[in-house]
């Protein structure tokens, strides 16, 4: 129950930080996607039940903040979430490695989906520029942030479910 209650405020605050702070931190033209990292970290936790709510609220907030057409973030985050559900049941003993792995896959999927939705909207970014100036720098930043985000959210989820178990 607590998980449901905290989801919306946490995502709203993260969205605000994403638009004001993390969008200004960039390597070349790449930026970190903290919402994506939070969805990955929360979904990877073995006890969280409402990670789909994080996916939904995160997608809604990013769709509101970003001008990416055709609900690009919905597509990206849904692909990542499904991938996590698939991997979680098979590699459940290695969450930290899964976090790094899914972050890499997520960054690539995010860039690919953005490229694709721009492409079908008659905007054609140069592929090599996209790769060197956006995708690889974004991936680097996401990898830099993924461990702290995982640490914070994993501890938080542990404490949340430990308290709920006590109750």
């Amino acid at each position: 129950m607590k998980e449901i209650l905290i989801t919306i405020p946490v995502m709203i605050f993260t969205g605000i930080f994403q638009a004001t702070l993390f969008s200004r931190i960039h390597i070349l033209n790449g930026t970190a996607d903290i919402i994506l990292l939070m969805i990955i970290a929360w979904s990877l936790h073995p006890h969280t039940k409402y990670s789909w709510l994080w996916l939904l609220s995160g997608s809604l907030i990013m769709t509101y903040l970003s001008a990416i057409p055709m609900y690009g973030y919905f597509i990206t985050y849904t692909i990542i979430w499904i991938l996590i559900q698939f991997l979680k049941s098979r590699f459940w003993q290695m969450p930290i490695i899964l976090m790094v792995f899914v972050t890499i896959i997520g960054s690539i999927v995010s860039a690919a989906v953005s490229y694709f939705v721009l492409f079908i909207n008659d905007i054609q970014p140069e592929l090599q520029t996209t790769l060197t100036q956006i995708m690889i720098p974004s991936l680097t930043l996401n990898l830099l942030f993924c461990i702290p985000v995982y640490g914070i959210l994993n501890d938080w989820a542990n404490s949340l479910y430990y308290k709920e178990a006590q109750l």
């Binding site: 605000i16 994403q18 638009a19 004001t20 993390f22 969008s23 200004r24 960039h26 070349l28 033209n29 790449g30 930026t31 996607d33 919402i35 990013m62 903040l65 970003s66 001008a67 990416i68 690009g72 860039a111 953005s114 490229y115 721009l118 909207n121 905007i123 970014p125 140069e126 520029t129 996209t130 100036q133 956006i134 720098p137 974004s138």
Partner: protein, 275 residues
């Protein structure tokens, strides 16, 4: 008389006291009193000094504590003042920005402006959009041009009641009809995913040079005319191509954009039925 003789001791005593007073008043006892009092005063002085030392011994630690407290209070006060200085410097910076915007607005009295603060940046690294704190409640409408005192910023691409999204001219989807002032030639300003802008579709007949000013041409009716966009920094001219292009240094630094002006009375022309 008999009584006097009976009380002769008292009489002698009174006479002695009267004599002493008379001697003191006449100054004959000063030397003698000095000799008597000097040792007493010396002793008193010695005792007073010791008492003072002992008093200070017990009271100075208390003063140190008091001084430390005062020092702490002063340090707190200094910290508060420093915070106020930083706040005032920020206010001054904001005031400078607003004065600049006001100067720009006064220079173009035919247009009405709505000043807005930049409150966010598009999280997608592919797009160059910013969020501003004014929306339809403040008279902002879709496609309105956005400028600063330095030049063109972009146009409104989405509006809510209290906020709007601005597509910057550096965005890959942005196209602005422009004119190179010195060469008197038209072209199209095109953004990119790397936030670099360039003027495209410039005829090969004219000679573009670094440093030439690029302004909006007003063609197409999407932007008002004669708003500065930037300066040419690099010309790309190939003999076998139909058009030449040039890289543009934008007049505005979009990384440090804090406040903008929305041209509220400009209604973009819808030429799509003619296309």
């Amino acid at each position: 008389m008999k009584k006097i003789f009976e009380n002769w001791q008292r009489v002698v005593m009174i006479l002695l006291i009267a004599g002493m007073i008379l001697l003191a008043l006449s100054g004959f006892l000063t030397q003698m009193l000095g000799n008597v009092l000097d040792p007493v005063i010396s002793i008193q002085k010695w005792v007073a000094e010791r008492v003072k030392i002992v008093y200070e011994f017990f009271t100075i630690p208390r003063d140190v504590t008091q001084l430390r407290a005062e020092n702490q209070a002063l340090q707190d006060h200094v910290s508060l003042l420093q915070t106020q200085i930083i706040q005032l410097e920020q206010d001054l910076k904001e005031a400078d920005i607003l004065y600049s915007l006001l100067g720009f607005a006064r220079g173009r009295p035919e247009e009405t402006y709505v000043a807005a603060a930049v409150i966010g940046i598009d999280p997608s690294p592919f797009l160059k959009y910013v969020l501003i704190d004014k929306g339809s409640d403040d008279g902002i409408a879709f496609n309105m041009p956005v400028v600063t005192e330095k030049g063109l910023v972009g146009r409104i691409s989405a509006v809510t009641a209290s906020a709007s999204r601005v597509q910057l001219i550096t965005d890959i989807g942005s196209m602005v009809n422009a004119r190179v002032v010195e060469a008197d030639v038209d072209g199209v300003i095109q953004g990119s995913v790397t936030a670099d802008i360039s003027i495209e579709m410039v005829t090969q007949e004219v000679e573009l040079q670094a440093g030439q000013t690029v302004q909006t041409s007003g063609l197409g009716g999407s932007y008002p005319a004669d708003v500065t966009i930037g300066h040419i920094i690099n010309v790309n001219k190939l003999e076998n191509e139909l058009f030449q292009s040039a890289s543009i240094q934008p007049a505005e630094d979009f990384n440090t954009l804090q406040a903008v002006l929305v041209v509220a009375n400009f209604r973009p022309s819808n030429i799509s039925p003619l296309e």
